[in-house]
């Protein structure tokens, strides 16, 4: 099955670890997931630790053989050993963290080594490496040993390494983990630039704002299964029944709050600095309950009422918790 429109097609993709893997014996890490990634889009794979994000990336990037199901990357079946080397020329992976570089080599020497492993012609290497160092703003540090790099510099040289073969698909496994906001913003901007240039990006992240800012489409995994899929708006609307009602009153409504809690509604009142009271109530059906709740608070002199729509993080937490 070849779909030129899609960079990745996964159908019923499953990975079970064998009986001799310490700590993971017989564990189903990814359980029959299906999704499609269009060429050139940024596709997010979200989920809590152990949800199967990294396992999914490993299977799609030829680093792990799927137990069952289909995974077609750039029209090639990743399970077919004959495709692996051809596919590896066209993809690359960046893992978060500081591992994966030769610390006693300089940034430039690392890039030269990997350029050779990817068969980049010698005559093109110098210009390519210079342009990559420039892209990740490491020209001045290019000849310093990587062991002397800061964490942010290591992550940037990782990204430069991953672009050495001009990959059509770039897998980014938590690329901004542990980085300061300024460097993270730089990396997000780089990811957008790559996507604008036609590179398909598969991104895993724990930062919802990052996923919201970058991803065209996404899947949310929980315990190896997909619990949410689509655009950011699709994901949010899939839990639209959950909204937060915010009521500000002049007088303390704690009695009402307590009675709402007794009815199993998630309600919290806090005192504001300007001597008023803010009550937040999470509703499962805002439309139906709104008027009734407002009536309960009216005796406490309501000064404002507002409904807060769910964020991606709200949606994520709801979907993941439902999936547990």
């Amino acid at each position: 099955m070849t779909c030129p429109e899609y960079a990745i097609v996964a159908e019923g993709l499953t990975r079970t670890y064998g009986p001799f893997i310490p700590g993971s014996a017989g564990k189903v890490a990814v359980d029959g997931i299906s999704f499609k990634v269009r060429k050139g889009e940024i596709y997010g794979i979200l989920g809590p630790n152990g949800a199967g994000k990294t396992t999914t990336i490993k299977m799609l990037s030829t680093m792990l053989t799927p137990t069952s199901g289909l995974a077609e990357v750039l029209g090639m079946d990743v399970r077919d050993g004959k495709n692996i080397r051809a596919l590896r020329k066209r993809i690359n992976v960046v893992s978060g963290g500081e591992r994966g570089l030769y610390y006693r080599l300089s940034g430039r020497q690392n890039l030269e080594f990997f350029a050779d492993l990817y068969g980049i012609p010698k005559k093109d290497q110098k210009a390519l490496i210079e342009s990559l160092l420039s892209l990740v703003e490491l020209i001045e540090a290019a000849d310093i040993k990587v062991e002397n790099y800061s964490r942010g510099m290591k992550q940037r040289i990782h990204i430069a390494r991953s672009l050495i073969n001009s990959p059509e698909i770039l897998f980014l496994d938590e690329p901004t983990i542990g980085l300061d906001p300024e460097i993270s913003r730089g990396i997000r901007s780089l990811i957008k630039k790559l996507s604008d240039g036609g590179t398909t990006v598969i991104l895993t992240t724990h930062y919802m704002f990052e996923a919201e800012e970058l991803c065209d489409n996404m899947v949310i995994l929980s315990r190896g299964r997909i619990v949410g899929k689509g655009t950011v708006d699709d994901i949010k609307s899939s839990i639209s029944r959950v909204s937060s009602l915010k009521i500000i009153t002049e007088e303390d409504p704690s009695d009402v709050t307590a009675s709402l809690c007794r009815e199993n509604l998630d309600a919290v009142t806090s005192r504001l600095l300007n001597e008023r009271y803010l009550t937040k109530i999470t509703l499962n059906n805002a439309d139906r309950a709104f008027t009734a709740i407002e009536d309960l608070f009216r005796p406490y002199a309501i000064s404002s009422v507002g409904v807060e729509e769910p964020t991606l993080e709200d949606a994520y937490l709801t979907l993941v918790n439902e999936g547990l």
Binding site: S61, M63, G81, R88, S95, L117
Partner: protein, 261 residues
């Protein structure tokens, strides 16, 4: 084989190796101490004994270096996360390890010569080789045979992070069985059969041919037979290593063990 990858990994290994001063211990200190012990055991520091001891120390240096480097590099890659980056590239792990093994062989030659030079400097016995050119040619071939062995040992590290136990166990037996420590004829008959299967055994015998005037082969063979056997067995080991390495690559993709260290 991918010559570009071989050259790149040779260069990468050289930089990594020189940046880590630990290499001095297995490559120079250990064989040098061994050479001294051999000399004091024999209580004789005249020509043939010195040469025998230095030859043994030199071979130990080459072998220790091969086994240390073969095991250390892949262990380092696993620990450092670079094994996954290597595996992800379109280059075969075998090609990368060939380049590294050639560097290891080269540095092994330097180590052997250093041991020889230091021993000569201390004991000043004026050791002379019967056929110096032939000796160094055979020394280089023996190094290549050790490098091919190093490739085979590297496969254990590709398979598993626990490969270091295998290399620790392999270090001294190979040294003894190859005849570098004592003549093969002094070994139990069962071990002698194993000796004939090891390329370095033939290399050590050939080196003795070139070193000692009127040497009578411990294996009962001619110098040419020694060289042919060494080359053929080295090629056979390389072929076996190639197939095991490919199998190891498939196995770790299937087990998902590339990132474990």
């Amino acid at each position: 084989m991918n010559p570009r990858a071989v050259t790149a990994s040779f260069k990468q290994q050289a930089i990594q190796f020189m940046a880590d001063p630990q290499w001095i211990i297995p490559s120079i200190v250990s064989p040098f101490l061994f050479t001294m012990v051999m000399l004091y055991i024999h209580q004789d520091v005249t020509g043939p004994v010195v040469l025998q001891a230095v030859l043994g120390g030199g071979v130990l240096g080459m072998w220790a270096n091969t086994i240390f480097a073969s095991s250390f590099t892949i262990s380092y890659d696993r620990m450092n996360g670079t094994f996954e980056s290597m595996l992800l590239s379109p280059t075969k792990i075998f090609d990368i390890l060939i380049g590294r093994s050639i560097w290891n062989a080269f540095i092994g030659l330097v180590n052997a010569l250093l041991v020889f030079a230091i021993a000569e400097m201390i004991f000043r016995t004026g050791v002379s080789l019967a056929n110096p050119i032939g000796f160094f040619f055979i020394l280089a071939l023996t190094l290549m045979s050790l490098a091919s062995f190093g490739m085979l040992i590297s496969t254990a590290f590709v398979f598993s992070r626990m490969g270091r136990f295998f290399s620790s166990v392999a270090e001294y037996p190979i040294y003894v069985i190859s005849g570098a420590l004592v003549p093969i004829s002094a070994l139990p008959v069962g071990l002698q059969h194993i000796s004939y299967l090891l390329a370095p055994s033939w290399g050590v015998d050939a080196m003795r041919y070139a070193a000692f005037e009127g040497y009578g082969s411990m294996m009962g063979t001619s110098l040419l037979t020694d060289i042919i056997m060494m080359v053929m067995l080295s090629i056979a080991v390389l072929i076996i290593a190639y197939f095991i390495m490919n199998k190891a690559e498939r196995a770790i993709l299937s087990a998902g063990s590339a990132t474990r260290y």
